[in-house]
Amino acid sequence: MSTDFENRLRTARDSLPKPDSTVTAAAEQRLLASLTAAIREPRPLRLRHRWNRVATVRAAYAAALVGVAAAFFFVGAFVYTTSGSGSVGVDSPGFLPASGWNEVTTGTVPMDQGPTATAANVPIVPEGGYVGTFPTHTLAKLPASGIVFQAVIGNRADATPDYTPMQLPLQLSDARVSPGWEGQPNSDVPMYQITAIVGNYILEVDAFFGTQHPSAAQLASAQDELNRLEVPSS
């Protein structure tokens, strides 16, 4: 049983600093560079089924970097466009505006940065100014009535068997539900995950509720928001 002192200690958790956004971006780039160097000297992978997704992430990073390098070679500069996966810049997915819902997106970014949209029926807490990052702080204090979505797209070529061809609107009833999940900042928040292939993209949509037992009305509200999800045309 926790003492009053322990409870006071827990409430001081915001004292712990967070990494700043430029360091976060640099760390991701450094990781990407190291993965690219690794694929130049390939070694046999012994990935097992559960890690297909990890392999996808690694492959996506590498493939995106190769794409960026090719763009430099042929064009001589970064040119962000709003077309499909063959381009350097890709539009993020997005949720159509609706009363009571907030949204932030990465906008048009290279695929390696993960074009992402985050929507919530609560204020979205800035993650150190780094748009598109996992909404840890929003989820940490998500009220029971809260709903948060994060949608990210990748290249269809990186699809694993976890990704199923689907059409929009996605259905929440197709989601895999995880009451507990890695990186979970709040044990009351389950994750509903849909991994789909839509057009030329793989699409991962994670939905989070502020309760392990969302009501029918909450599920309906979430489905309404999911109906407003749009993915860039290929």
Partner: protein, 157 residues
Amino acid sequence: MLFRRHWPTVWQVAYAVLGSRAAADDAAQGAMISAFAALENFDEQRPLGPWLKRIAFNRAVDELRRRRGPTDRDLYQAAESLSAAGDAPELAAGGPIGAAVAQLAPERRTIIVLHYWLDQTRDQIAEILDLPSGTVASRLGRALAELRSLLEEEHVH
């Protein structure tokens, strides 16, 4: 998604050990690169989060050791002969409890941060620190007692 989901916590583990933003930046980046390079050796039956935190912890301890010279393998014992690795200025500015946590030696600071602020269970901490669960419980108790004592001193003065 994997990087973004785990990066903040990995960084905070490194910060808890090192007490310095710059040192945590380096240790956390190194930890993520090591972890992704070794993914194919990772046991699929285990959760990724504690494994990443363990790599970050070990990386930070290595950095601490490099800065302070050779010490015992056990950071807890080494901490007896070390003052805090960094003065954790951001933590110290975070109110009286943050300031007291900043004053703890690295091992005690880390165990408090993992349990009370990063919501790791004692078993998870045992995995991260590579210690028996019972040892974690006793060390957590001692860290808590020291923290309470620091706060009482602060209150008296």
